[in-house]
């Protein structure tokens, strides 16, 4: 009780800091900018925060961090908008939202999808604010328990579970996972320092960017496919949009997915190196697996939007846990946040909580306020976004292409990334024609390199002893889960009972 009282006291103090007019304005600017960069495909929070970093020199530390954090989680809200409306992940973590979100838009339910994404994100944001307030230090300790063997086993589990992402043939899905793994190993090998498949291009030595691949396979491939049909026959969306606010039935259906997504997302966010994308993928896979009737997944099931959107926002929020409590950045964006602290003269580390409680608790409180602002900002915007669908495609797609090029260019200030996107866009279109879906490939692309890195690191540390994966309890748990998942997936396939509805054209 005493502990909760203390947390409560701290939260009150944090809100005291966060609701000052000045900090409310910073939070609002951050959320607004975040929504904007989230909506714009390819332009992500990393570029936006980097861009604004110099301006934060002049701001007080708390205000600066509140604004930068707002950009980060604001982008998670905005990212779903583009995913749903034009099948283009506005943010890398909203890749999964494309699957069902865009299908819903095609069914004329764009408004419902956008609303449920905002509501799920807000719920996740609220829960995660509480989680951080109550349990940040112990969660950070838990994250530290994850060494190389644990990460490897977790990735094995994730990769096997991802097979359910496939809608069409299982063989094609496995093939796409392999393609993803192969693309993922491009670049400098962490363990040996050797370059792999870089063809002597220095720009490839750090690997192919996830944003580049995601933009190419989802965005560009989709655009080429749409252009295939003549102008007068093309119907990207239905004109009739049935209501903007979700129906009671939608909320009831999504509630479970939102709650599960929130907790799964919170888990992955806490682990350095995984984050919102993995969280969204895992939640989607789980929702599809546990749904009584999963036949609508991929065709506009609202749970396929609600779960992943809650998960990516939850993960975005809990990513602050190792960053704030230990000073260990879990992702590129978090490294930027730490850089912003250093520029402000605050040494990030375990002391921040005690030496700058105003900053720690103020930032946490501002996250909840920011989430509230975002949901207020986003719900009325839905009407405007849906109007966007009425823009003729011949005007819409060049604009999208332009933003995609700006976005990918901004990743490294290099022309190579837009070019790569172009190349993989054509590849993605070919895959689409062959009925090979990009989602399993993207997961292989993310998990493959992590898996390899941690497998080799685990064996390096154990001096080549593979039992290390079975003797450590967390690692063993994930391997057992992986074996279970494998059975669940393989058995129906063997019995040829794999849902035939999945064999649909699309």
């Amino acid at each position: 009780m005493e502990f909760l009282g203390e947390v409560f006291g701290n939260l009150i103090m944090g809100f005291g800091v966060a609701v000052s007019l000045e900090n409310l304005i910073y939070a609002f600017i951050g959320c607004l900018l975040g929504t904007l960069v989230g909506v714009l495909p390819g332009i992500g929070p990393v570029a936006a925060i980097a861009l604004l970093l110099p301006t934060t020199f002049a701001l007080p530390p708390v205000g600066a961090l509140i604004m930068l954090a707002g950009i980060y989680y604001g982008a998670q809200y905005g990212g779903s908008t583009t995913a749903i409306l034009v099948n283009l992940p506005g943010e890398s973590s909203s890749v999964v939202t494309c699957l069902d979100g865009h299908a819903m838009a095609k069914n004329g339910r764009a408004g419902h999808a956008l609303a449920i994404a905002a509501i799920g994100s807000f719920f996740a944001g609220t829960v995660c604010t509480l989680i951080i307030a109550v349990a940040a230090p112990p969660l950070a300790e838990m994250a530290l328990k994850f060494g190389a063997p644990e990460y490897f086993s977790l990735m094995v589990f994730g990769l096997i579970a991802s097979a359910v992402l496939a809608r069409g043939s299982l063989i094609k899905a496995l093939g796409m996972i392999l393609v993803g793994l192969l693309l993922g190993i491009v670049g400098t090998d962490v363990n040996s320092g050797m370059s792999r498949f870089t063809f002597g291009m220095p720009g490839l030595s750090d690997g192919i960017g996830f944003v580049v691949i995601a933009m190419a396979f989802f965005g560009l491939g989709e655009i080429i496919k749409n252009l295939e049909t003549p102008d007068d026959q093309r119907q990207v969306f239905t004109d009739k949009v049935s209501g903007l606010m979700p129906r009671w039935e939608d909320i009831r259906m999504s509630a479970g997915a939102i709650v599960r997504g929130t907790f799964l997302g919170a888990f992955f966010g806490t682990l350095p190196g995984t984050g919102p994308v993995v969280a969204a993928f895992s939640t989607y896979a789980m929702e599809k697996k546990i749904a009584k009737d999963s036949s609508q997944f991929g065709r506009g099931d609202i749970r396929g939007v609600a779960g992943p959107e809650s998960a990516n926002n939850a993960a975005a929020q809990t990513a602050f846990i190792p960053t704030l409590t230990l000073g260990i950045p879990g992702s590129g964006t978090m490294a930027l946040m730490l850089g912003a602290m250093m520029i402000q003269g605050i040494a990030p580390g375990p002391q921040v909580m005690t030496s700058r409680p105003d900053l720690f608790w103020g930032l946490i409180a501002s996250m909840w306020i920011g989430n509230l602002m975002l949901v207020i900002l986003n719900l009325p915007l839905i009407g405007i976004w849906v109007q966007l669908l009425k823009v003729p495609y011949r005007l819409l797609f060049p604009a999208i292409l332009m933003f995609m090029c700006i976005g990918t260019y901004s990743l490294n200030n290099s022309i190579q990334d837009p070019l790569l996107m172009g190349f993989f866009g054509v590849v993605g279109y070919a895959f689409m024609k062959f009925g090979c879906e990009p989602a399993p490939m993207l997961l292989g692309f993310i998990l493959g390199p992590l898996m390899e890195e941690n497998l080799r690191r685990a064996l390096l540390i154990s001096r080549g002893d593979p039992t290390v994966f079975f003797t450590r309890p967390i690692s063993l748990t994930f391997l057992v889960l992986a074996a279970g998942a494998l059975l669940v997936i393989v058995l129906p396939a063997v019995r040829k009972k794999r849902d035939e509805a999945f064999q649909g054209d699309e």
């Binding site: 328990k145 190389a148 000073g327 260990i328 490294a335 540390i461």
Partner: protein, 333 residues
Amino acid sequence: MKGLSPSTTRAGRAWVAVGTSFVLSGSAAAHAQAQAWPSRPIRMIVASPPAGPSDILARLLGPQLTLAWGQTVLIDNRAGANGMIAAELTAKSDPDGHTILLANAGFVINTSLYKKVPYDPLREFVPISLAMSVPNILVVHPSVPARSVAELVAYAKAKPGQLAVASAGSGSSGHLALELFQQLSGVSMIHVPFKGGGPALADVMAGQTQALFSIAVAAMPQIRAGRVRALGVTSAKRLASASEIPTVAESGFPNYEVNGWFGFVAPVKTPRSIVARLNTDIVRALRLPELQDRLAEQGAEIIGGTPEAFGAYLKSEQAKWEKVIRQAGIKVE
């Protein structure tokens, strides 16, 4: 939104680039430009991503230099390939004093690490000034019984090839610090590379790996919190901000010295008069007390020196690491 000078934004940069191409196509020889320097914004290419270690230095210096030169200093982050992308880009830029590179230690080490290096650090660049020296600190997980460098050597000798030492990556400053340490002490440990210093430090904090040569700025808060134990600093002198930590050199390895560093260079054909001006103003900015304080907190030592001194340093660093790398048999292709 005060402080948002339009030309430090990316959009601003694009406009500047448009302006730049006009200036170039319309202007006469570099000689004429030399007299009018600076005639347009200065592009400071930084070999790290935003908020990376050299980026922070660049962003602290930028406004001061903008003030001194009356032209905006644009920070252009070109991370990747161990700084080779940034260096190659600089080498190919117009040598008119409007493009400078904030190089780091990898600048001269890459030539020994990689088979193909797209630039020559000594022939294609003219040194301006060394800016800052960032030593590493050898830290261990608290469960490691060693309380000094000597004890660590003894501990590692008792368990040859069993102590796992993390690093920020193959060819990183921490990796090279480890190699030199092994060569001088004669112990052998397992090198466990990570993708960056943050994950490596986290792994040592968790006790998954036992030791790490970490950059001081990242390690200090963890040392103060008792999550890792500091055994020695890799610089020749103790750190001003943490003088209780002995140097590795004074702990029995007098020849041991490893410093990460950041310094400014320009394309080799940059007129010497401009280099001198760049040097004067950069050194003056580096000596500003507010900057010194900010960076000293991070365990960095500010060094502003002559171009000649920096040139000599670049040469000696290149030679030193070439030897260590050859002996260790590190090859990063």
